[in-house]
């Protein structure tokens, strides 16, 4: 019998954080993800901000895990080799915004966050391109930026290196109680487990319904974003927010951890059936443009290399982080909207400790580190020369915009959570994320996937099933000279 101690449903930043923390215990743990990769839902498309922690109402789970999570980021991202920078954040306000800013500042202090209100001169020193009528800002030096999908992937990889299992493209379709636990069924198999963690994000209410737990009413908010070319990276240094309103934190302008500039998001209510569609809207993009113009000058939106949308799912006003009272052994992590990314490492640690206590799991003596990575674009000429000598594939540039080598792509395909699709490769090594957006490298990435996975080119997918990129062969093959 394939008995697990814990099954985590959902491979987002929360599910993988739980999995990673659990992998530090002597336990058999499994993560089931319905998509072709981890980080395919909200964890793929969000602002990538490590919030300082002044936003959430004091005393809430949001406030608690935000502050605790933010403090973990430096060490976590160093350990997992994930791009992260503590750049600080500003909430920018006009003259009449001072009372609201003060309230936010007071809340920050109550939450234990390092915040203070600064005047225009100090703002200008931090952000020379701030809009002319911005007089005050709430400055939070602890805020940071991170690559949310790289963090998610690294957490999953690290868990796998430490004995956890990740099964992709397995959608949970039934969960039945049995003696001492559950049997979790997917379209591919069934797995026995003592504990289930529901970290299914936008699908969380559906998973709840499978065990007869409350199918909470979720609200899904889609947000549109622009990503600007790297050459614009000098325009903003910190994370710049407007004053928050009832819909959220508003349109921000920020550097990304990978060196681009991010603008967005809107907050459009979308029905459940569109929650995973992530369609960009023209009105949304226009709203972002206007929001950016109110906040900063000299932001060249025309240099966008990508527009996309992401969805965040909320239930009520706070996170749900608790074991079901109706169904013992069923742990719910629901409504983890913003600041979910910031909170995830702390949630993971907390939930793992809780479950370990209940199941009397013991900590392992040692944790294996992730194998050292090689990123060509960050390497020195000496490192490049050495690496290319050792393996010529690390001297073969495939993605010219982001300087990604064949060696890095091959590694991604054979990483602990393997990249099986073009998008999965892209999220791991950035091939196709530059200014040409894969125009040149995508066919090459497809060839590498085809070769390394032993599948025909016609089966190489962009993402989930049905997304084959070049599904047909041409009638008359042409032999190049």
């Amino acid at each position: 019998m394939n008995g697990y101690d814990v099954i985590v449903i959902g491979g987002g930043v929360v599910g993988t954080a739980v999995l990673r923390s659990l992998s530090a215990y002597r336990a058999k743990v499994l993560l089931l993800e319905k998509s072709s990769d981890v980080a395919c839902g909200s964890s793929r498309a969000n602002s990538g901000i490590v919030h300082a922690g002044y936003d959430a109402e004091t005393g809430t789970k949001k406030a608690y895990f935000n502050v605790k999570g933010a403090a973990m980021y430096r060490a976590l991202t160093e350990e997992l080799d994930v791009p992260y920078k503590k750049v600080g954040s500003l909430v920018a306000a006009r003259k009449d915004g001072l009372p609201a800013l003060q309230a936010l500042c007071d809340r920050g202090i109550a939450n234990g966050v390092d915040v203070r209100i600064i005047g225009r001169e100090e703002i200008l020193a931090l952000e020379p391109n701030i809009a002319d009528d911005i007089e005050y800002a709430l400055y939070a030096p602890e805020a940071g930026i991170v690559s949310p999908y790289q963090l998610t992937i690294a957490q999953a990889d690290h868990a796998v290196v430490n004995g956890a299992e990740v099964r992709l493209e397995e959608k949970v379709i039934a969960i039945d109680r049995e003696q001492d636990g559950f049997v979790v069924r997917t379209q591919k198999g069934e797995y026995h487990t003592r504990y289930v963690v529901n970290a299914a994000g936008a699908g969380g209410a559906e998973v709840n319904a499978l065990v007869g737990e409350e199918a909470y009413t979720e609200t899904h908010a889609a947000g549109d974003y622009f990503i600007l070319d790297r050459k614009e990276s000098g325009v903003v240094r910190t994370v710049v927010f407007p004053l928050p309103d009832e819909r959220g934190k508003g349109i921000l302008v920020a550097p990304t951890a990978d060196g681009n500039v991010i603008l967005g998001p809107t907050s459009r209510k979308v029905p459940h059936e569109e929650a995973e569609e992530n369609a960009v809207t023209a009105a949304g993009l226009q709203y972002v443009r206007e929001g950016v113009a109110r906040l900063m000058k000299n932001v060249n939106v025309r240099s966008a290399i990508r527009v996309y949308a992401g969805t965040r799912t909320a239930i009520g006003s706070d996170f749900i982080i608790e074991e079901s009272k109706k169904v013992a052994g069923f742990y719910m992590l629901l409504g983890i909207c913003s600041p979910g990314l910031t909170s995830a490492p702390a949630i993971g640690e907390y939930v793992a400790e809780e479950i370990a206590g209940k199941l009397s799991l013991e900590k392992k003596y040692a944790i294996r580190p992730l194998p050292a990575s090689f990123r060509f674009r960050e390497a020195t000429p000496q490192e490049i020369a050495l690496k290319a000598q050792e393996d010529p594939a690390f001297g073969r540039i495939v993605c010219r915009c982001e300087k990604v080598t064949e060696g890095e792509i091959v590694r991604a395909v054979h990483s602990p959570v393997p990249a099986r699709t073009v998008d999965a490769v892209k999220r791991r090594v950035r091939a196709g994320m530059g200014r040409c957006q894969g125009g040149f490298c995508q066919p090459r990435v497809m060839e590498i996937l085809s070769r390394e996975l032993g599948i025909p080119m016609t089966s190489v997918r962009k993402g989930d099933a049905g997304s084959e990129i070049a599904p047909y062969e041409v009638k008359d093959g042409y032999e190049i000279l």
Partner: protein
């Protein structure tokens, strides 16, 4: 560190012609090509229509490339580095590259010719609205997949943009049994060649709608369709007239951008209109000894013009490396009424003739093209039709030049 008189970055049509030009002046030459073979994008252009001007006969892209390639490979004075990606170029002409065969490569150059070509504008760059499924490609990517790799991207096709690659792909996909339902162009005129509109669309009854764009794409994993709408004079879609076209493929042929990432932030003066360097008639940039030619300088319609331009640049680069480039007073060449840009942007006064290439800013009929130096007419040329998609030139006598030159359209 190895030294070459002329180092050429890019081994497509421009790079190969520059190499040949430089060799004729006796220079030692290195070509750094990032692909596995010389030829650049010509290798995926299996249609014909190349070489009519340069060779006086009609060739396919690979055939055209092969003529240059044979010449380059037969010449022991040209070192060809393949799969070699140039990482940096310093002002004192140290070129750093990497390749699987040679690892890190450092070369010192007497002069450098930039011949990196161009890239296609992407869906992200045009802010495509809607979902992000498979089924959306730049025309060139679909072309590479079909013509080099042997795979067809889809069966029901809509094409946005009337650039030449899009037009060529309309015909190519039709010949593979795909149904090309529509080509649309946001402008009221095509950016492609007239002959391609006739031979690739009209001959196959593929409709072309001007002043029309895609307003939204649908489909989660694979494209299921596009919404399209006509646009007003400000290019804003008129959403009341939106219609839906089911399709599994959207090809984008919405512009080419010179790929000058290597010199971004360098001292080389750039033109905001062409997105390439500002050059003189030898295609020398504002940094002495660094030359630029082909689509990295400005996007051409015909490879024949690329070869010609790069040949001139290669010769001049060799002369520069030998210390033999003559110095003469420089005048500026400016785009006047109706002209979007003229190139070269400056020329030396002296003897001989020089061709001033230019593009117009919209379609004109029955205009006269003039080149004037300080108001004095140097040359005029009557034209029937001028379109932005067709690069033109006017040839002037340098000895008549007294000061700055303006190329303009006159009634």
């Amino acid at each position: 560190m190895k030294y070459f008189d002329v180092v050429i970055i890019g081994g497509g049509p421009a790079g190969m012609a520059a190499a040949i030009g430089a060799r004729e002046q006796g220079a030692s030459v290195a070509i750094l090509e990032r692909d596995v073979r010389l030829g650049g994008i010509l290798n995926q252009c299996i249609h014909n229509g190349f070489g009519l001007h340069y060779f006086g006969e009609e060739l396919t892209g690979p055939e055209y490339a092969e003529r240059f390639r044979q010449k380059v490979l037969a010449d022991s004075g040209i070192d060809v580095y393949l799969e070699a990606m140039v990482l940096s170029l310093t002002e004192n002409k140290i070129v750093t590259a990497v390749s699987p065969a040679d690892g890190l490569i450092e070369i010192s150059a007497g002069s450098v010719v930039l011949a990196m070509g161009c890239r296609e504008r992407s869906a992200g760059a045009i802010g495509l609205i809607g979902t992000r499924p498979a089924g959306i490609y730049t025309a060139g990517m679909a072309q590479r997949l079909s013509n080099v790799d042997g795979y067809l991207v889809g069966k029901e096709v809509v094409i946005l943009g009337s650039g030449d690659i899009g037009l060529i792909m309309a015909r190519r996909m039709t010949s593979e049994g795909a149904k090309v339902k529509l080509v649309m162009e946001i402008m009221p005129f095509s950016s492609g060649l007239k002959r391609n509109i006739v031979q690739c669309l009209q001959d196959y009854d593929i409709p072309l709608r001007y002043s029309t764009t895609v307003t939204r794409v649908t489909g989660k994993e694979r494209l299921t369709g596009v919404y399209i709408a006509p646009v007003d004079e400000k290019r804003n879609p008129i959403l009341e007239q939106e219609e839906y076209i089911p399709c599994d493929t959207l090809l984008l042929s919405v512009g080419l951008i010179p790929e000058n990432d290597l010199i971004a932030g360098s001292a080389i003066e750039m033109s905001p209109v062409t997105s390439g360097a500002v050059v003189d008639e030898y295609r020398q940039t504002s940094v002495p000894g660094i030359f630029s030619a082909g689509n990295v300088l400005h996007v051409h319609d015909l490879v024949d013009n690329v070869s010609e331009e790069a040949y001139v640049a290669g010769r001049a680069a060799a002369k520069y490396a030998a210390g033999a480039i003559e110095d003469a007073p420089i005048v500026a060449v400016r785009a006047g009424a109706g002209v979007r840009y003229a190139l070269p942007q400056r020329i030396h006064r002296g003897e001989g003739t020089v061709r001033l290439y230019f593009r117009v800013d919209k379609v004109y009929r029955g205009m006269t093209v003039t080149a004037r130096s300080e108001g004095v007419l140097l040359k005029k040329k009557k034209t029937m039709v001028l379109a932005p998609g067709e690069m033109q030139y006017i040839e002037i006598d340098k000895s008549l030049v007294t000061g700055d030159i303006s190329v303009a359209l006159e009634e």
